[in-house]
């Protein structure tokens, strides 16, 4: 691992400005990606991991906007703000322009693999044509060269009979095969970093296994770095070198893979590990995390996990812990966690009385966040609206026509 990271993210903040308020989807996350490693970004749905990964490419869609922090890639500023003469924050001069992002970064330096292989390919173009277009664009190859490269890449990712299948359309491919095509797209552009956003979630286990193996092999061969976004701790354990655990827009724990599983420092990670059934051994009783993750529109005061945390004390309600080094591994890598129970935080956790909690066995409570915002601290506005699923489950999209 070289000392200079390939990608450095510092205090990145991305917010969505909606009618009902500002959603702090990503709220000050920092991490690095070094050359040749696979970094995991783990969390449940709503944790902000996908938004975070799209922010790295400056591809956040309206009404979302990156509002703070700094993203540096190979010394170039992908995003950065500075204070202008009138005290206003403005974009730094050395920040890459939109054209530079498009021509130099997206695709040829940082490529992505999306979650949904069924929707990510354009249904009316041939698979080969789409692959060829991206190669042509990002590697400055002629049409013929790009085509050859595309066929080679299809073979490389294990698509049988690539010459034939080059001419076929996405609907003629199975989900696993489409995901291979997306991987081929990412690799064919020869980027240094690939952001894989839940690339195996939509796939069956055996196909997932095939894909993970494929990525493992190819990563070794090409030395590409990966940011692997997922909710599945099994996949993380399988493939990642280092892991960032996200909860409600923040990174709560950051550690090398082995330490994360065997020397867990944050209660959320701990609870997550305890709540999943295991394929390799029979677990008698699952120990679920109480409640549901509150919405990012009005996060709890203090530590955002405190309402669901088994170790929560009074101080957790008041103090908002930043992600801090709490331990160092044998290989001198830092192990960070955002939990005040560690000595690195000296805020009087041990003396603080435990939080009184209501008995809430299995209901997914949504009110515990406001169970009592008694303490001072930067508490958000009143109550959180949680427990609501999505909008009125309208059958939707009427009209005619199938397809």
């Amino acid at each position: 691992m070289s000392s200079e990271p390939l990608l450095r993210v510092e205090n990145l903040k991305t917010q969505f400005f909606t009618d009902t308020g500002t959603v702090r989807a990503v709220d000050g996350i920092s991490f690095e990606v070094y050359e040749g490693e696979i970094v995991g970004l783990v969390g449940e749905s709503g944790a902000g991991k996908s938004v975070a990964s799209m922010s790295l490419l400056r591809l956040v869609e309206n009404p979302g906007e990156i509002v703070g922090g700094e993203v540096t890639y190979k010394g170039e500023t992908i995003f950065g703000l500075e204070e202008g003469p009138d005290g206003e924050l403005r974009k730094r001069d050395d920040m890459l322009s939109n054209e530079e992002m498009r021509d130099r970064i997206r695709g040829n330096e940082i490529a992505v693999i999306f979650q949904d292989p069924m929707e990510s390919l354009n249904p009316v173009f041939t698979v080969g044509g789409q692959l060829r277009e991206f190669i042509e664009l990002n590697r400055d190859l002629s049409r013929e060269k790009a085509r050859e490269e595309a066929v080679d890449m299809l073979r490389e990712v294990g698509i049988p009979d690539p010459e034939e299948r080059y001419e076929e359309y996405p609907h003629q491919f199975s989900g696993g095969m489409r995901q291979r095509v997306l991987i081929a797209m990412a690799l064919a552009c020869e980027p240094n970093l690939i952001i894989a956003d839940e690339p195996t979630t939509a796939l069956d286990v055996t196909v997932e296994g095939q894909i993970i193996d494929l990525v493992d092999d190819l990563q070794e061969k090409y030395g590409t770095s990966f940011i692997w976004v997922t909710h599945d701790l099994g996949v993380v354990a399988e493939i990642c070198d280092r892991v960032n655990v996200m909860y409600l827009g923040e990174i709560v724990e950051q550690a090398p893979i082995d330490e994360l599983f065997y020397d867990t420092k944050h209660p959320y990670t701990d609870a997550l590990l305890d709540s999943i059934p295991r394929p390799d051994r029979t677990v008698g009783e699952l120990d679920p995390i109480e409640g549901v993750m509150p919405e990012a529109i009005s996060p709890p005061s203090g530590c955002r996990f405190h309402p669901r945390c088994p170790d929560a004390r009074e101080v957790c309600r008041r103090v908002h812990p930043e992600n801090r080094v709490v331990d160092t591994t044998e290989s001198a890598e830092p192990h960070r966690a955002a939990c005040v129970k560690h000595d690195a935080f000296d805020v009087g956790y041990d003396e603080s009385p435990p939080l009184e909690k209501e008995p809430q066995v299995t209901s997914e409570p949504d009110a515990d966040t406001e169970a009592g915002v008694t303490g001072p601290g930067p508490g958000p506005g009143p109550g959180t609206g949680t427990g609501t699923g999505t909008g009125p489950g309208s059958s939707g999209g009427g009209g005619e026509g199938s397809e």
Partner: protein, 332 residues
């Protein structure tokens, strides 16, 4: 191979529909209370003997199903009956009138497509910007205004007030310039266009407005697709995304709409021909209705319905040709 098979299949599928239409028109024409002959003879002095004679000539004294089978037998041979008022065969009449109607409808479609698609795309790209608002208002007016009134207004402005364009009739490009006393083909062409312009806009405005709205929505939806996101993430320029990635997918519903809207366009042709005094099928239909010339009415209804069915089939085939996901040969 697949496409050919699909085409055969679609045309085969149309046969029952066409039979259905013939039954429907036949039943409608015979729904009339009382005697169709008396209806036809309204305003004509006729004695009982003459009525009976006509009844026998039209076979009206025989049961309905026999008459229908006769009519069908004729239809298959291209015989659509006889016009009582004009004393000509219906097929002949229709053949002489179909040209102007086709010219009108096709040019209206050309006008609608040429304007709606670029406008719709720009509106989608500049969603919620002034251009979008203006084009949406134009489209709204377009779908809310009767085509015949647009025709009247156009005549009032461009023919009556300004005197720039003729207010009635068409110049048929397939007739020789001499027929009109035109001085060569250039003038013939110019005159054709000058006559066509107002009716084309009158009939095409509704189509333009409908297509523009659909194009805009489809483009907006397509631009939100995952594949567009992917293209962006791979550094594809916005212009290419708009013209290629998003556009190609957004076209598919437009094709379907174009086919289905033929129904409105053919109906609208009746009104437009009435306003602009064009001697097409629509005008013939109007006259036949006024005269209750019922074999002509049936003939025109059959022909217009057939034109619509063929139009829909053509767009279906075009769709199947463009969309790789359509599997030929399977129903629906």
């Amino acid at each position: 191979m697949g496409l050919l098979r699909y085409t055969t299949y679609r045309f085969a599928q149309a046969i029952p529909v066409l039979i259905g239409i013939s039954i429907l028109t036949f039943v409608l024409a015979n729904l009339t209370p009382g005697d169709p002959v008396r209806l036809m003879l309204q305003g004509v002095e006729a004695d009982q003997e003459m009525i009976e004679q006509i009844e026998a000539q039209y076979g009206l004294d025989r049961p309905l199903y026999e008459r229908y089978l006769d009519y069908m037998a004729g239809l298959v041979q291209g015989d659509m009956g006889h016009s009582f008022h004009r004393n000509r065969s219906v097929s002949e009449l229709i053949a002489s009138r179909i040209g102007p109607t086709l010219l009108l409808v096709l040019s209206a479609y050309a006008f609608a497509l040429a304007t709606s698609i670029p406008l719709g795309i720009i509106a989608a790209k500049r969603r919620n910007e002034p251009f979008d608002h203006v084009s949406r208002i134009v489209a709204l007016i377009g779908v809310s205004t009767p085509s015949f009134w647009i025709g009247i207004m156009l005549i009032l402005i461009f023919a009556v007030q300004l005197g720039w364009l003729p207010s009635a009739g068409l110049v048929y490009p397939w007739w020789s310039p001499e027929t009109y006393g035109h001085d060569g083909y250039v003038e013939h062409f110019v005159e054709t266009i000058r006559h066509l312009l107002l009716p084309m806009i009158a009939l095409g405005t509704l189509q333009m407005a409908t297509l523009m709205r659909v194009e805009r929505t489809q483009m907006i939806e397509s631009l939100q697709g995952e594949y567009v996101k992917l293209a962006r993430a791979y550094g594809v320029p916005e212009r290419t995304i708009l013209r290629k990635h998003a556009f190609q997918v957004a076209q598919l519903p437009i094709i379907t709409i174009v086919g289905l809207n033929l129904s409105t366009a053919l109906g609208g042709a009746v009104l437009t021909e009435f306003v602009f005094n064009i001697n097409g099928l629509g005008r013939l239909f109007y006259d036949a209705i006024v005269q209750l010339d019922y074999q002509v009415i049936m003939g025109i209804t059959m022909i217009i319905a057939t034109m619509f069915v063929i139009g829909v089939i053509i767009t279906d085939i075009a769709y199947a040709y463009i969309d790789p996901r359509v599997t030929y040969g399977e129903a629906e």
